[in-house]
Point group: D2
Chain length 307, copies 4
Amino acid sequence: MGRSIYTDLALESREMNPRIDGVEEINERDGEISITRIKITADEAAKKLDKQKGSYITLDAPELVNRPLDLFEAMSKCLCKEIKLMIPKLGENASIMITGLGNRMITPDSLGPRVAEQVYVTRHITEYMPDAMDHPLRSVCSVAPGVLGVTGVETSEIVRGIVEHVKPDLIIAIDSLAARRASRISTMIQLTDTGISPGSGVGNTRAGLTLESLGVPVMAIGVPLVVYASTVAQDTIELMADETGLHNDEERLKALAEKVISEHMGPMIMTPKDIDSMVGDMSRIIADGINLAIHDMNYDEVKALIA
Amino acid sequence: MGRSIYTDLALESREMNPRIDGVEEINERDGEISITRIKITADEAAKKLDKQKGSYITLDAPELVNRPLDLFEAMSKCLCKEIKLMIPKLGENASIMITGLGNRMITPDSLGPRVAEQVYVTRHITEYMPDAMDHPLRSVCSVAPGVLGVTGVETSEIVRGIVEHVKPDLIIAIDSLAARRASRISTMIQLTDTGISPGSGVGNTRAGLTLESLGVPVMAIGVPLVVYASTVAQDTIELMADETGLHNDEERLKALAEKVISEHMGPMIMTPKDIDSMVGDMSRIIADGINLAIHDMNYDEVKALIA
Amino acid sequence: MGRSIYTDLALESREMNPRIDGVEEINERDGEISITRIKITADEAAKKLDKQKGSYITLDAPELVNRPLDLFEAMSKCLCKEIKLMIPKLGENASIMITGLGNRMITPDSLGPRVAEQVYVTRHITEYMPDAMDHPLRSVCSVAPGVLGVTGVETSEIVRGIVEHVKPDLIIAIDSLAARRASRISTMIQLTDTGISPGSGVGNTRAGLTLESLGVPVMAIGVPLVVYASTVAQDTIELMADETGLHNDEERLKALAEKVISEHMGPMIMTPKDIDSMVGDMSRIIADGINLAIHDMNYDEVKALIA
Amino acid sequence: MGRSIYTDLALESREMNPRIDGVEEINERDGEISITRIKITADEAAKKLDKQKGSYITLDAPELVNRPLDLFEAMSKCLCKEIKLMIPKLGENASIMITGLGNRMITPDSLGPRVAEQVYVTRHITEYMPDAMDHPLRSVCSVAPGVLGVTGVETSEIVRGIVEHVKPDLIIAIDSLAARRASRISTMIQLTDTGISPGSGVGNTRAGLTLESLGVPVMAIGVPLVVYASTVAQDTIELMADETGLHNDEERLKALAEKVISEHMGPMIMTPKDIDSMVGDMSRIIADGINLAIHDMNYDEVKALIA
């Protein structure tokens, strides 16, 4: 039954399966931000957690919903640090391709395209007018390939086509994520070296973007921005089942779940009312973090450049 | 316990209380649109249904979510007919004030302001350049007073202030509504002669706009655009309770409900992923319907005028 | 002929009429910002400059177009200082009404409504839950009355209606302005104690908002965001006339101007391509400045509160 | 000097060079729409007109600015007819790639991306679930590659990368155009079989998209949405020169032009105030026209599908 409780967060998968082997977890703090490092090392664990083997870092700051500017800046800097730790040492001439996944016209799915817009691109300058830069910059480009339902082309096909021309040394993919708990919405950033898994993201329509499929290492950065209504129903039902010992009757529970979901929910998502501003905030935080990590500049330099 | 299942739709309140006196219900069809006329005649019934005494007409067309243009036009024309039936016979010189409630910057709450933008206003023409019109037009103005959290002023205060200057003969208020069932989102239009009740609307922050409070008759037109997550949880729990006979233990159910809601939901709303385009569609349908009803023109004349 | 060169900036009117009596001008610097204080003291001068008698302060920072964050903050703080100097000493219980003029749906005319959205309103808190505030706050409300073409009601009528209920001690009106020179677009903030003059603003459709018309002192804050195409043509023609001695033939020049304007321009406006982001920047700068000036808090406190 | 009078419209280039060989022009009417067919057959003419050899069809309807719905539909149907005439007979299984050029975040440059969003894509259906379609549909996909300044990658590189995977039989590129005359803004659609020329479009930053560069025939559809301020100045100055016989002094005219442009304009564009709604209208008209032309359906079927 757990299958129908969906989350893109390794941290939540781990919570649901606390006692399995092949998973390492480390917890740290950086001011108001709590950092969780989960490493999935065994195939068995990957299967149980429904996540690829690899590293998942979560930056968690519940205070973000109150929108204090200094915490925005702290998150950007913390994200910058983690990106630098995760990316293979990149040389001066390394080229990076930012890839914003999702649908710009659907608010909770627009994180990726919005970050892509705000990243400070340099590839055209480094290629066509290298002398224009006062200090050396890494070559960065940024694309938003769109979603299958709007383009008619698998995102992975479009990305592969661009990759073959741009030949980046690293891809950083940004995506909106689905969480299990509403309390996680817009309070977390997840960073992973496993790329984008097929079926992840808001709407579960993503094709995979991975080292295997693209031939380039793919770092993925995501923010939980929705909870599927079906997850809520499933959770509620299981909770009730615990309370009522109904677990004896799996069949009946399944039927109940289907009844609730079909009657009340269809393909609904749960978001806070002010999701519009939350996506705006998180896209700025992530764009700032990426700009800081890729170009060795201070916060205001970058803000000035990308604005 | 039903208290925490919230709906702005008289039709849904009625469904939850099918067998009470002081309520008349008539069902009709107009092509793909099913029309339900509910009249609450007794105070007792009004209390039970948590709705003001008066008439509530619902236009229901589940096919709307598939966005066929001809159904959009049919809904506009049907809404037009119902508005004409409901409004007291208005003279040539009658003046009407459209009032778009809600927050333009929060997608599911932006229906009112969007309709207000699209209504064909004539008051400035009829007042300052009556000769400019090729055929006589009723005097129509249109305002979007904003929401308390953004303006710091009760919507009703702002509306009253404008009313005292504009002195309209009728107010038509447009608002986003909360439904109990997700299947109702963006498939229905509710029309009522009772005005806006305090605490209704997305976010429940509305102050009342009624004949009593404003001294002008108020017709209200709304569309269900969200379901409160707490409603879903409550519904799910009650359903489980029915299945498990847990109803014997009211206390335990209450505790459960609170646990689920606080853990999973906070002040979440449930919407379809493509709520952005749905609000756009419904605002156009309602603006067209109002324009048709107020100015005696055909569809294309009005579309041309308001575009 | 100068009549058809239109500007809302007292500073530009002054430039065009440098040698007239009844005008005082003081120039200062505050870091990258140059401050110009123009005081029109004589009726004759007011008539010549086509501006009301009173004080006009211009904050000018051409670097703004490059969008450095630290300059944004410096502008907000400088604006804050000037607002504090200009407003009559307001008591603890003074109430202020922000009024955002213009059309939210027309990019270069949306400054006012955008500032109104971002101002930190407190009136509802100070009125209904005074204990909720950790430190005392002035009572602030914020409205966006819309434009005549969309509402059908004179903006001044709507504002008067609200004023009669809210009874503020001061109104701060925000508006998009038209400049003579493109180089001024989005690089200046004009502050005046004369309120809003009839016919000013983008589209020249504003009705006046002044102490005389509302019975409340009105401070106006504006940013030049467009140049009328007719202004450009007129300027060009006069320049050519200077060069060619054509000034002898007034009639011919008039004819030429009309030919150019009707053939090439109609009611066109000139803006930079990225006006969308410029309006976004300036609205944030002004909202921050107002919040700082009204509530005695530091920059981050306010940013956190209003975000 | 004419160099600095810029237009993307073959019709305007032709007006400026009426008496040259190697150009055929045919004029027709279709209701309110006047159709101009210009064919550039000689290299010399192409050089003089600064346009590629090939066919340019202009659909002109000044009434569009008044936004009558029936004219919108007429334009869509007329565009449909012209597309069908221009495209090589495409077989049942022909695949078409719509390419929306320009910057979605800059209003007058957002035509292409907006059309791309509204085109009815079928490639994913025809490829992955052919049985889902009730009647056979051509394979259509739709991409918005973004602009160099935002992505850091030449649009042509991105398009080439996608083309190599999608292997379309035809590309239809949509773009915002610059006109010489303000009266043309949002009243015309230009259709050409020459593809996109380097340096065309709003901002002149386009790289070429042609049969030569992509190996696929490219049809281009554009709408004039801006006039460059420099064009206005240049026009005005030449007009004055005609009037004053100043043409004797080329040098002095050049100097004047530069003075005017640098003093008044910078890189300004001229648009109507309500450009936002105009781009919305034209993108719908073009998307409808394309959908009608590619899929043999009637107007309402297509509207329903794409809505």
